[in-house]
């Protein structure tokens, strides 16, 4: 019974990983891509690790999988936040149909939205 639940959790995690990677390919902007990919891959990885823990119980493999799930859950959003802030300060522009950009207006005095005249690299 527990192993069936573990398999279901692992399959859900793999589906989350596939959707996150598809978002990494298909979205138009750096920040959209980072949002989709980081959130989906975090949840998918935690699902796979928790499924491995359910399959093997309190053995050597299960405890290490639980530790790895906790580590990914704490460090992946930190890395994505630091990288998106660094790329905003670096000067990478937002998508051209973005409505409002308060960070750029406060810090730099102008909005960092990509203009119409520049070519879009989607």
């Amino acid at each position: 019974m527990i192993s069936v639940i573990g398999w279901i959790v692992i399959v859900i995690g793999v589906l989350f990983n596939l959707l996150g990677s598809l978002g990494l390919v298909r979205f138009p902007d750096l920040y959209n891509r980072m949002q989709a990919a980081t959130k989906c891959v975090t949840v998918g990885t935690c699902g796979i690790m928790f499924g491995v823990f359910l399959l093997t119980g309190f053995s050597q493999t299960g405890i290490k999988a639980l530790l790895c799930a906790f580590f990914v859950l704490t460090t992946m959003p930190v890395a994505a936040h630091a990288l998106s802030r660094g790329s905003l300060i670096f000067g990478i522009k937002l998508w051209r149909e973005t409505k409002i950009d308060k960070f750029g207006k406060d810090k730099f005095g102008k909005e960092l939205i990509e203009g119409k005249d520049e070519e879009t690299q989607a």
């Binding site: 491995v52 930190v78 790329s87 000067g91």
Partner: protein
């Protein structure tokens, strides 16, 4: 089990496409980071499939190295001001 591993390999190929194609440097950095996390998942599934518990050590090490590399590149990009 092997079908799940093939699905995760497909995830890694998507990340590889974005890392080769990406317009800016941050695309490549986040793609390599997510590819490392996907390799973590594949290693965990291999540890269950072949009954080798020490492969989980490898997955924890991959996660730590990916996190440290991403933070280093984010700090490098933040400390450099471009006036355009």
């Amino acid at each position: 089990m092997e079908i799940l591993m093939v699905g995760l390999a497909l995830c890694a190929f998507f990340c590889l496409y974005r890392a080769l194609q990406g317009p800016s440097i941050s695309d490549r950095v986040i793609s390599v980071d997510i590819m490392g996390i996907v390799f973590t998942c594949i290693t965990a599934l291999m540890a269950v499939r072949y009954k080798l518990p020490y492969l989980l050590d490898l997955s924890i090490i991959i996660a730590i190295l990916s996190f440290v590399g991403t933070l280093a590149l984010a700090k490098y990009m933040e400390g450099r001001h471009l006036d355009d």
